[in-house]
């Protein structure tokens, strides 16, 4: 029997494998009307397990309580501020959930014929045109299942287009501020990655691109605003340089939350961009998705879009597979459809003016946060930011307190920590993105907490080093966990 612990309402919950009792179950079947046969007589013995070690036997209430308790340890954007930079953890309006639950959306079978799924196709076609409008691009595919998947689709289209021209280019330029996925994408698309160093202002200098750009370079992958939360002010010029040598400009649209209704990336010379619906267009994410990473292109790349492409023929919507230049299918059926419905609902409920306001508020909130924390924390790029800002632990170093300690201390105050140690170009980075959905009171509370933590670092640094103290678990041994990971439950031994 488990030891009694006074954990109060923290509800110290054992693993589900450690619970239950022999013969307990959560179902009741009618009396059998067939003869009972032993498993051995029906299934070859080499396929049978001799023993199911620790397989839990539980009642319905056991299972419900277990998962309810676990969910109570959770911290999400519905519980409080979630300032995870580069991730746009904004509040997800519940109306999106209501819409996607409608039977016509949630119960339709993917093999339903075109003429019986016109509403679905119309929604997807309209979502494509909304995204094309917002990004300033010509055509869109909704298939990619996540941002990195959209990147891959985009770079595969670049490769296909270059090959159709008879060009086999080898390199892709990626700035040192890029998301790690840009490096992976260019590698998986069989390109050699060439790094561009950002300048002292935190952006890519066009002269540097001009130096590196030759007829071996297929594309440049740029994130705008970049991961320092700064606007890539030279992008227009960079696009000119790249285009002049026959290359393409890929934009990672992960940070689109700063630009909606204010600037169209297509106008800056971007040829292909992916959009993270689960970030900018407010569908829940974290813990592995599902997300959606539609990819938008200019006309030159449109023949290479993944199939099927949704087309409007008079008043009828069709799925077109007959696209000889297409890179093929990127995802089973039509992408993560539920996420698409939520994004569509979000865009319609916000409207054009609303989306513009979203970006204005996201940028305003981040600048407010930056201004208020400047002086308490070291700001490596001291200039107006976009939707997120990056500080470091340089002022706290002399008290032997690190970014990790600051992040852990935030947990004691009931906040989810920001992104830490990213982007890599900033030593000890603390990257914060308040998003537009936080009220001034909420941001002020976060600011006051951060200021207090900066004071504690001077006066009582141990409070930070030993944090978190008021959480379900104390600080974990990340080194041991990484060196000797335990990836599966191995019984009660």
């Amino acid at each position: 029997m488990a030891k009694i612990k006074d954990t109060g309402l923290i509800q110290d919950e054992p693993l589900i494998f450690e619970q239950g009792g022999k013969g307990r179950k959560g179902y009741s079947l009618p009396r059998w009307d067939v003869e009972v046969a032993e498993a051995q007589s029906l299934i070859p013995t080499q396929l049978l397990r001799e023993e199911l070690i620790g397989f839990p036997q539980l009642s319905e209430v056991d299972v419900v309580r277990h998962f309810t308790r676990l969910s109570q340890w959770n911290y999400g954007v519905d519980s409080g501020l979630y300032p995870l930079g580069s991730c746009t953890m904004k509040y997800n309006p519940k109306v999106n959930e209501e819409i996607v639950k409608m039977s016509g959306f949630s119960n339709i079978h993917p093999y339903t014929p075109e003429d019986l799924s016109q509403g679905i196709l119309k929604l997807m076609h309209e979502l494509q045109s909304f995204l094309a409008e917002i990004t300033g691009m010509d055509e869109v595919s909704l298939q990619p299942a996540a941002g990195a998947h959209g990147e891959l689709a985009g770079m595969m289209m670049v490769r296909a287009c270059l090959e159709a021209r008879g060009e086999r280019r080898k390199k892709v330029l990626v700035p040192d501020t890029a998301h790690g996925t840009n490096c992976s994408t260019s590698t998986i698309a069989s390109y050699q990655m060439v790094e561009i160093k950002s300048n002292e202002k935190g952006v890519i200098p066009s002269e540097k691109v001009a130096e590196l750009m030759d007829d071996e370079v297929a594309a440049i992958m740029v994130t705008n605003p970049n991961t320092l939360g700064l606007f890539e002010e030279n992008l227009g010029k960079i696009a000119e340089v790249v285009h002049r040598k026959g290359g393409f400009v890929y934009c990672d649209g992960a940070n689109l939350n700063a630009l909606m209704g204010i600037l169209k990336l297509g106008d800056l010379g971007v040829d292909v961009v992916h959009i993270n619906l689960h970030k900018t267009f407010s569908t829940p994410h974290g813990g592995g998705g599902p997300g959606a990473g539609p990819v938008a292109v200019k006309n030159e790349l449109a023949p290479y879009l993944p199939i099927p492409v949704i087309e409007k023929d008079g008043e009828i919507y069709r799925l077109n597979d007959d696209r000889p230049y297409s890179i093929g299918k990127m995802r089973a059926f039509y992408g993560n459809f539920g996420v698409l419905v939520k994004a569509y609902a979000y865009i319609l409920s916000m409207g054009a003016e609303g989306l513009k306001r979203v970006s204005e508020m996201a940028v305003l909130n981040a600048n407010y946060l930056m201004k208020k924390l400047k002086g308490h924390y070291h700001l490596p790029y001291d200039r107006p930011c976009m939707h997120e800002c990056v500080f470091t632990d340089r002022f706290q170093e002399k008290y032997h307190v690190s970014t990790l300690d600051i992040a852990k201390r935030l947990i004691d105050y009931g906040f989810h920590p920001p992104t830490i140690y990213f982007p890599l170009v900033v030593k000890g980075a603390l990257m914060m993105e308040p998003t537009e959905t936080e009220s001034k009171e909420s941001i002020d509370r976060f600011i006051e907490t951060m200021v207090q933590i900066a004071e504690e670092a001077k006066e009582h640094p141990d409070l930070l080093r030993q944090a978190p103290q008021r959480a379900k678990v104390r600080r974990l041994d990340e080194v041991l966990a990484a060196r000797k990971p335990k990836l599966r439950w191995t019984g009660n031994q």
Binding site: Y421, L424, E478, V479, A482, R483
Partner: protein, 127 residues
């Protein structure tokens, strides 16, 4: 931090020990110090050939992942397989038990382009 006089160094924080036709390669004390607790080291297979400056492997710490660059051109003769179970050797003993690979060197003149302990230390940020 220590930087043994008899070793050669690269700007990307590898050290090289010249043993005639063969070199031993590792990460410097500064590099392991910056990376902090190393949790995984990926080293290349024996027999693979690399050009100077190419990535020969990856070192991963709790905080970050960094490439290991080949200081010279040549062929991998041996990898330090003990790092698979004991990546912490790179932290504990970067010039000894934490060595990464032995390489057959293609062009001895490349060694002349590497840095002395003094020059390498001169490149490190003053903190």
């Amino acid at each position: 931090m220590k930087f043994p006089e008899e070793l050669l160094y690269t700007e990307s924080h590898e050290w090289v020990k010249n043993e005639g036709g063969e070199v031993i390669i590792g990460l410097t004390d500064y590099a392991q110090h910056q990376l902090k607790d190393i949790v995984y080291v990926e080293i290349p297979e024996v027999g693979l050939k690399f050009r100077k400056g190419e990535s020969i492997g990856v070192v991963e710490s709790v905080k970050t992942v960094a490439d290991i660059y080949s200081p010279v051109s040549g062929k991998i003769k041996e990898g330090n397989i003990t790092l698979k179970d004991h990546p912490q050797f790179v932290n504990e003993d970067p010039y000894g038990k934490g060595w990464l690979v032995k390489m057959e060197i293609q062009d001895k003149e490349e060694l002349e382009g590497l840095l002395s302990a003094r020059d390498y230390q001169g490149l490190l940020p003053k903190e």
